[in-house]
Symmetry: C3
Subunit: 273 residues, 3 copies
């Protein structure tokens, strides 16, 4: 099993440097994501200073991928034409050295999704982000999930995350009450967030989009990119949760909190454990 | 004409029991709904403790319907591939004994919609939810509606609702300033809500999704399911409306209010008349 | 070059009259717009008293266009079936004398978009609304834009706007920190708004939808329609920006501000320069 490093200080510092790079470079993040999450994902990217582009059609998405800083592919509201475009776009990104991030939403629910995710995984995503149920099922385990919500704890998915990371040479981020990120060799836990987060739709999908923004400014280190994105989400989620009266007020307070993250918050209030 | 029962206390108590069941069972609600409403519908379902899944493609939607607690079909942004999938999914739900709810958005506006709704109605929805203009037109009457907004009063649609309920052996919920629910034999009015509600897009569509959640926990009693969902909406709408400064603040206050509904509010503040 | 008129008072008064007409007539505005913006665009239209309808399929969109007060076409999340429908719908609107508004989102990014916009422009939009990068590229200039965000200043796009207005006999609205509207002969600048606006996704798309609402009540004067819509946006944006703590709170405060605009605000606080 991968070790949880004791030297999280260096990782926090590296995360903070990536956060500064996102603000400075405003990376173009192309999202082929689901209809439910598009608006929130775009707003999360804008709140962090990145530049979202929801370009999905097969006629242009592969061409656009070559201009993008990163590509995010999320199968939440999958259909046959979108899948075709996702495969072409992931391939174009891969060929062009543009990192791409996979969100295998509810892939265990139907044969169509299982097959889609198997084909996408073969196109070498830099990072896979999912909830515990999704990651357990992705490693071939028996998950308790039925729909899009996690019914398993993140801790139960750590071994599965490592299996996937090693088998597919990718970084796996399992998110939930406490997140877990591994590249198969290293691993870290990210705390923070709020109990209100699972009550707001598409927060996980928006996080995947943010992981894309960080991977755009750190193509050679997807592990730190994932950790940095999750850290920002965790800190902003904690702050928004402290002020919110429910899921409705959490959503907008969360965007305000993301936009207001200070330059040094990832080291001063490091959520890494 | 159906009688408005004087014994609303029993209905309020039954509604309250269903509300507890939604919170306890977190029913999986599959929505084939329009692009405008997806996010709000998912957030309304999550705020009430249900589990939304926006699975729509013909390749998987019928398969998923068999696993769902209920299916919601809304033609707001209809297209030919979506209609094909809606027909297959409604049929699969029907075969599997999974209740499904129809929202015939603006079905009177075009030939494409009129035909779609006729075909969907033949697949035996458990509940039909619409505004007054939609329900009047569905019963063959002359509605004043042009687009998606109601231009008729709910009271004008009560007879139409009963006609549809009897002809299609379904429950019909007409929503507006005061809602009306009938199964052709029984009928009740549901008060509450806010004048700001029609100024927020997709509140009606989100209500249809919530009706789905309640029908999932009460397969044998769609009438009470519809009444319970409308009651929750009415009470939360009233509370949010009292605090809101406009449609923007109403939207998030409404989600907060839904999430905060007390266990006994459906009897203590019963909106049934 | 077009003159910036010194007599903005008459234009402000005419704008105010159009605003009263939108509130009074509740024009039906059909939007074929992108998935990211649909919800916000509908909410902006409702906040201003208009009636949105997101009807996009080729089977019904041209038929619906003939009933609409105006049609809005936005290529933000373009695909081949949507493009086909946009072309048919723009043509139907044109034939029926229904004004239609074009939003050429990121048209410079791919060949698919460039071709789509060229074909749409040939169908005689009443108004074109874009950011500076889009308008510069539309006139054949070299824009700094990569994705959907503007990377050029509005002032740099004024000449391009005039070129397009004259060549296509249309009104061009370039929006940004200070907006610019021209019909090739007249021109005016519209101030207001907030630095938070570009941090909220789809505000530009929602503005295009609002331009549609105003063009519906002023078919013979698209220039004033564009100016009036931008003026309302500018004033409401200024007010919301003064109260907001970030992009999350800006979004709902902006909808509240739009809904609360007084009858005489377009003359009392005229943003025209």
């Amino acid at each position: 099993m991968a070790d949880i490093p004791t030297d999280n200080a260096a990782l926090a510092q590296a995360s903070q440097d990536l956060y500064a790079a996102v603000r400075r470079d405003a990376p173009l993040v192309q999202c082929l994501t689901n209809f439910v999450s598009m608006n929130l994902a775009a707003n999360v990217l804008l709140a962090m200073g990145a530049s979202p582009a929801m370009v999905h059609a097969a006629e242009e998405a592969p061409e656009f991928a070559r201009l993008s800083g990163a590509v995010v592919i999320n199968i939440g509201t999958l259909s046959a034409p979108w899948l075709e475009s996702m495969l072409l776009t992931a391939d174009a990104a891969c060929q062009a050295g543009v990192p791409w991030v996979l969100d295998p939403v509810a892939h265990h629910a139907t044969a169509f999704r299982r097959d889609a995710v198997a084909r996408l995984l073969a196109l070498r995503p830099a990072i896979v982000r999912g909830n515990a149920s999704e990651i357990i099922a992705l490693a071939g385990g028996q998950s308790a999930g039925k729909g899009v919500d996690a019914r398993d704890a993140v801790a139960q998915a750590e071994q599965s995350a490592q299996t996937i990371a090693i088998a597919h040479r990718t970084v796996v981020a399992v998110t939930g009450e406490t997140d877990y990120v591994t590249d198969g060799r290293r691993a870290v836990r990210v705390t923070g967030g709020s109990a209100l987060m699972p009550c707001v739709t598409a927060t996980g999908c928006a996080l995947t989009a943010l992981v894309g923004a960080f991977s755009a400014v750190s193509r050679s280190d997807p592990y730190t990119a994932a950790v940095a994105a999750l850290s920002c989400f965790g800190i902003a989620g904690l702050r928004a949760g402290a002020l919110a009266d429910g899921p409705g007020s959490f959503a907008w307070r969360f965007l305000d909190a993301l936009a207001a993250l200070e330059t040094d918050c990832l080291t001063r209030e490091s959520p890494l454990r």
